[in-house]
């Protein structure tokens, strides 16, 4: 592996509060040096001229579905991580709703095997209960030892109070966060979009805001009950103002609750369903404008800990169905940075270093991914170089993902990935 010297660029590293011109030397897969422009001399290094570019810790997505094992027609670890690299990501956390469910150290190790040909680092998330059936806990200690970074039954929320309480305690003991897909499925049966006038007009059953907020409130109550365990609850893809307010309040009460928001929930609202566009169907659904605005506000005021894509690839024939029959989810890895910069930075004036933090440093910290989301000397050489001013048209057809199910095809995004480096290897370079 040849050393890489990045020169002439603007360096953003939220972990060290650096937002200034710097040069960066990568060697042996690690960060070897960071210094003022021109100070680092290293013969034989491959030089990347970063003039006009920002370089930063590689992006970290703590919520992706790689569909591997079991659903290779949608995505594999190889294709999903290639898409991630193209989107500037160097770490992704893979949800356990694979086939079979990742509820064992064996499956975790299978996912981490070099034979999967991952382009970047994959951190598996383990099932919180066996088969994600919500009945018996999996073995958090051995999952953790095998490489799991959190537990969840994503997509199948843990509804039972007793099992959720047990999960919080056991996970805290194993040093793992519990991630909850907050949806009281008793309130969402047969529903395929947000409840409200749009759903009524389209003749679709709606998921009420309370289905999310009531489960977040329940989880927070359980977390308070087991306060002594010092458990960490992380709310996945939070989408409603009511749930965000519950998270804010819990934090003020000293509870360890974090949350993530997906780009589609701060960019789109329920009107995007239009004439039954299945690319606007996901769970949680696109919400009312008031909730979308609340997501923006929560991101701007720091209530939201991370942006995570909920990258959920599906084959075309699955999405080309009646709205109610089509599966939930959209791809997101290659559009996340461009959407975040276009909307949060360009439109709402959020400084770039905060955008980077929400996509890298903070998510790494939420799931305790050591050395990720930072470019301190000695940490893994995970770097993204991007042009923050570059406007470009996102084309689903050009995606590295095996699937094309995105509502953002043809959108003009801002901020284009130039190069992605994972542990010292260049894993993505933009064409012209």
């Amino acid at each position: 592996m040849k050393p890489i010297l990045i020169r002439n660029g603007h360096f953003i590293d939220p972990s060290a509060a650096i937002d200034a011109p710097r040069d960066l030397l990568l060697n042996e897969g690690k960060v070897a040096a960071v210094d003022k422009p021109g100070r680092i001399k290293y013969a034989g290094a491959e030089v990347i001229d970063a003039k006009g570019l920002v370089f930063a810790p590689g992006l970290v997505d703590i919520h992706v579905h790689l569909r591997d094992p079991g659903q290779g027609y949608k995505e594999t670890i190889a294709t999903g991580t290639a898409a991630a690299a193209a989107g500037g990501f160097t770490s992704v956390c893979a949800m356990p709703n694979t086939v079979p469910v990742n509820d064992s150290p064996e499956i975790t190790r299978w996912m981490l095997s070099p034979e999967r040909n991952a382009a970047i680092r994959v951190f598996p998330i383990g099932a919180a209960t066996r088969g994600s059936m919500g009945e018996a806990l999996t073995e958090y200690g051995s999952l953790h030892a095998a490489g799991v970074v959190a537990v969840t039954d994503d997509g199948k929320p843990i509804l039972g109070d007793r099992i959720m309480r047990e999960a919080l305690i056991a996970a805290a003991r194993a040093g793992l966060p519990v991630i909850q897909h907050a949806e009281d499925t008793r309130l969402t049966g047969g529903s395929s979009m947000n409840a409200g006038p749009v759903a009524f007009r389209l003749g679709l059953r709606g998921m009420p805001v309370e289905a999310e907020s009531s489960l977040v409130e329940r989880d927070i109550r359980l977390l308070a009950e087991v306060r002594d365990a010092r458990a960490h609850l992380h709310i996945a893809h939070l989408s409603t103002k009511a749930a965000l307010d519950a998270v804010r309040k819990a934090r003020r009460n000293g509870l360890r609750v974090t949350c993530e928001v997906a780009p589609h929930h701060f960019v789109l609202n329920e009107e995007a369903v239009g004439d039954y566009d299945t690319h606007a169907k996901m769970n949680p659904p696109l919400r009312a404008e008031v909730d979308r605005e609340a997501m923006i506000e929560g991101i701007l005021d720091g209530s939201v800990d991370a942006i995570a894509t909920d990258h959920a690839p599906h084959a075309a024939h699955e999405k080309e169905q009646e709205f109610e029959r089509a599966p939930n989810g959209i791809t997101g890895l290659e559009s996340a940075l461009g959407l975040a910069i276009a909307v949060l930075h360009a439109r709402h004036g959020m400084p770039l270093n905060r955008v980077v933090s929400l996509l890298s440093t903070q998510p790494a910290s939420v799931l305790g991914l050591k050395g990720r989301g930072t470019l301190a000397v000695g940490s893994p050489a995970d770097v993204v170089l991007f042009d923050p001013a570059k406007k470009w048209v996102f084309r689903a057809a050009a995606s590295r993902s095996r699937s094309r199910n995105t509502p953002f095809d043809g959108w003009t995004l801002q901020g284009r990935v130039h190069t992605t480096i994972s542990e010292g290897r260049v894993v993505f370079q933009a064409g012209n």
């Binding site: 006038p197 003749g203 789109l268 995007a272 009646e322 709205f323 959108w411 003009t412």
Partner: protein, 350 residues
């Protein structure tokens, strides 16, 4: 001018980065929703219905001679299916019925593949009934053929709203071109299971554009408050909610009763005796509160539940007239889908 209401933007302040809507593959003579019909489209359909209806059968027979119309029915139907079939055949078209019970749909064939198969077999127009809201869009996009929505899930039943409109105009003796004020001063109460009713949605989305005041009536589980928020942007009338049936009746020239859709209730428990006491249209109640109102029902009726036989068969009832108008309106719709070359300005409106 197209009447399609201006779509609210998906993210008001994100417009700059979203592209213009891609060119749609939906055939412009499709009818997927009443919201896609301009006022002049409605006028033309009603006018055409009258013309075709008055035509001698031997001439009518030549209109769509040997054209191929497929009826794709994923749900049972008597009135709609038969009247579309009679309408197409009366104009000389060949029809084929494909139903979920007797086709590869049972083997799991997708709607898209079924549509492509029908197109390959020569179908020039597909009339679709589906238990899924929005299914006609899938078929229209995948085949590019003119698609007529014969009822999609809980969403819409546009041909029913058009035949109801024709019935209303006849009963109220309104002739001449229809305008945004034709139904000014007219109040229609739709009573019953509004939530699950595609007939209610299509009528509520169509009639207020001609000035009608539509009162929706029913208990909260069958009529959520959001129902009043779907008023079309170009409405000259209104949509309102009145939960007291008697009070609604007192204000109404027209009363449309709906069946409780047991097949879509999904676990919702209703006390039927209480329901009847509050919402049944019976002779005594109508005599007291709406003695002159026209009584309508899209069918199928559950006699003795939402409506009594005495009323359904009585002199105020327009129920048979609705059925008869179904054939005339559907002849116009099938002819519109197949018979004429649309002008360039109309094409691409969807």
């Amino acid at each position: 001018m197209p009447a399609k209401k201006k779509a609210p933007s998906a993210a008001p302040r994100s417009n700059a980065i979203a592209p213009q809507a891609a060119e749609s593959r939906i055939h412009p003579a499709s009818m997927l929703s009443v919201t896609q019909l301009s006022l002049s489209d409605v006028q033309q359909i009603l006018k055409l219905a009258g013309e075709i209806e008055r035509e001698p059968p031997a001439r009518r027979d030549q209109r769509l001679f040997k054209r191929r119309v497929a009826l794709l029915f994923y749900e049972s139907s008597t009135r709609t299916r038969t009247s579309f079939e009679i309408a197409a055949k009366a104009m000389g078209a060949d029809t084929t019925l494909v139903s979920d019970k007797s086709s590869s749909i049972e083997k799991g064939e997708s709607l898209k593949d079924t549509g492509l198969t029908l197109r390959a077999l020569g179908a020039e127009c597909i009339i679709l009934r589906s238990p899924y809201s929005g299914a006609p869009w899938v078929l229209a996009q995948s085949t590019g053929l003119p698609i007529l929505n014969a009822g999609d899930g809980m969403h819409e039943h546009p041909s029913q709203a058009l035949l109801d409109l024709r019935t209303i105009l006849q009963r109220l003796k309104k002739s001449g071109p229809i305008t945004p004020s034709t139904l000014k001063g007219v109040t229609l109460t739709i009573c019953g299971d509004i939530y699950h009713s595609r007939v209610a949605r299509s009528n509520a989305l169509l009639l207020p554009r001609f000035g009608a005041r539509v009162i929706l009536c029913g208990p909260p589980p069958l009529l959520p408050e959001t129902a009043a928020q779907i008023t079309p942007n170009d409405a000259t009338g209104s949509i309102e909610i009145e939960r007291d049936f008697n009070r609604a009746l007192e204000q109404s020239n027209l009363v449309m009763m709906l069946r409780i859709q047991a097949e879509r209730l999904s676990g919702l428990a209703l006390d039927l005796e209480e329901y009847k006491a509050r919402y049944q249209a019976n002779a005594e109640r109508i005599a007291q509160y709406a003695p002159k109102a026209v009584i309508m029902h899209p069918g199928p009726m559950i006699r003795g539940l939402e409506i009594t036989s005495e009323l359904a068969d009585g002199h105020q009832s327009a129920i048979e007239q609705q059925v008869q108008n179904g054939v005339a309106v559907r002849m116009a719709l099938v002819y519109r889908a197949l018979g004429r070359v649309l002008s360039a300005s109309k094409a691409g409106r969807y």
